[in-house]
Subunit: 265 residues, 3 copies
């Protein structure tokens, strides 16, 4: 299975035309920046986490994105409720197990959410994907301490067990499904110095999954877009501050010409 500039841009156009509603239950750190990324790309983000409303919100959404970055008990309850509704409606569920392995609370929550909800896509860095699989992996906070390729076996195991696509991001991104692995080599070395670009990658997966039911391709397209926008942004960036601003601009500007010129598989 491969992805091409045309297949990538085809999904971008669908997002821009349809403006899919992406329901995010995400962490406090990235709410603003992921909402901006989704808006810049052409999707319609909504953030809602209260138990009394998440079912209804997931009930009108085109995709549900769950991110455990700043977890607490009330939010966990809402995550499970929203996921159940999304599952019933068969809309895509994308899970970001932020910091899994750093505390048992995160590890337990991430695993239970994945087990109960049957996600379409799981996205994490190398450490996180490994920590989802192996009891003895301890991560350091939310930044990866492992290269993305070290996590391929864990991703394969997860893809098999939960019949889903697992997306490991890093220098090379690996989009792993039961049968195949797609590599995406776009991106820029300064991107990990911007907080929440991993979370943004997850939210963007939600937008692509809302318009493309082939979740492996949707995730690969999302990762290509992240990397290409990152490269466009880095061109005139003096540091992570301007990179973050330019990145949002790049998602907005992104044309088929940009993708053709920059895409590296």
């Amino acid at each position: 299975m491969t992805i091409t500039p045309s297949s990538i841009f085809n999904d971008v156009e669908k997002i821009r035309e349809n403006g899919p509603l992406v329901h995010n239950i995400t962490n406090y750190v990235v709410m603003n920046t992921t909402a901006n990324a989704l808006l810049a790309l052409g999707a319609s983000p909504v953030m809602a986490h209260a138990v009394p409303e998440v079912k209804e919100m997931a009930g009108i959404a085109g995709a549900l994105v769950i991110n455990i970055g700043t977890l607490s008990d009330a939010w966990i309850e809402a995550m499970f409720m929203a996921a159940k509704k999304a599952e019933q409606r068969q809309i895509p569920i994308v899970i970001d197990p932020v910091g899994v392995g750093a505390t048992q609370y995160r590890t337990k929550t991430a695993r239970e959410l994945i087990q109960s909800s049957g996600p379409s896509i799981i996205r994490g860095n190398g450490s996180e994907i490994m920590a989802l699989c192996e009891q003895d992996i301890v991560t350091k906070g939310v930044d990866s301490t492992s290269a993305s390729d070290q996590a391929i076996d864990s991703a394969k195991a997860l893809a098999r067990e939960f019949d889903c696509t697992v997306c490991i991001t890093g220098k090379t991104d690996y989009i792993v499904s039961q049968e195949t692995i797609i590599q995406v080599k776009n991106g820029h070395a300064m991107m990990p110095r911007v907080t929440g670009l991993g979370c943004t990658a997850t939210a963007i997966c939600g937008a692509f999954a809302a318009v493309n039911k082939n979740f492996e391709k949707a995730a690969a397209h999302a990762m290509a877009i992240m990397g290409i926008a990152g490269e466009m942004a880095a061109k005139n960036a003096q540091g992570p501050g301007t990179l973050q601003v330019n990145f949002i601009d790049a998602l907005y500007q992104l044309s088929e010409t940009h993708i053709k010129k920059l895409f590296k598989e």
Copy 2:
């Protein structure tokens, strides 16, 4: 009733001189950006939502801004407490019914807040203002699906029922009171692609209402400033990322000359 560049700038100068304390109980997505907008304009924002302190904070504020963007039960309780205190002190209350119509939770909360607190100003997009009035309007998340002029009748009904100013933002902004309607035509097409600029408009209404007890004019001045700063920001923007940054700069730079040159009623 009309507003003029002089009446607009007169309020801006009062905000810059007095630095009114604007107490915000607002959503997680926009806390940072609305605080920055208020600071750049010259006001002094404070965010406080805990039941044990909101009365005291509303007790020293010049205006109270309540925004239901990311609602939960504990916050609702604080919203009602703060609103009661603000009402007792007769400081302006500005309400932003974000996403009303998308879930019953939001619709119920927004209506009850408005009924119990007697707001000075309600600000929303077309869909939200209509959903406040009519039981059968269903909105799509937090982005408007209706043009602002479609909501004028709803705004009139709300203005009459609650003796307040209703501000519908969109391509043209309508500031609706019991007797009159002020139109503001400033703004830029890229502004809806920045998350939370509607919420920022609401917060800015708070700053203007803190220095001008004619709430219809205060709201119209606030909308004019939003639109003018948006146009200034769009001039050198490459997308919504730079637009957001430039917008904050524009609020800071804003002079009477800018307003005279750009204001369109």
Copy 3:
């Protein structure tokens, strides 16, 4: 005791080499911007506030930063738990008493946290440091109404009582310990117009304290870096929007040459 460009840069290099994990329990307004500042400087931020996980997170961190900017009861419980763990592990604890004096809730919480945790560093603006000491100081929200030098006596009293370093930020920063006072005169007049730069100063203290156990020097180095990065950022800033973006870039770019050229003690 003095600090020099070399002593400052020496700590910067240690942060860049070691990437210390800084555990923040901080307010919603600044989570994104303080995480970005820490990342840009070279540290590894993590935000975690849930009672079930804060002990574990503080258990792997190099420093704990507690900021009471948007307080609520559940968070207070977590703050005390994390502080206890940090104290047991003897990692530095940095406390930011945001808005202390504005409400009794903040005043009570800040004082109890300081009393029970034995912080390494307390950082606040003039009003806040005075309000920590004197029962009758009432602050106006979260912005300072007093010059930093007015708070020196209060800072000395706090330093003595809690055997810690107290950092008063303002036009001149005073880093006050039991024996000495270090002054840092870097900074730019536009910085108070960016929300959360005070909170960022506190978070940055956490990164420096994680690599330098002389907390007076660590705090002074942190303040020097804040001011120098602020001056670098202001150079091409058109307002607080670009200042904030450039500030993150400056933390990333910062070299010994910059420090030598700009440092004013």
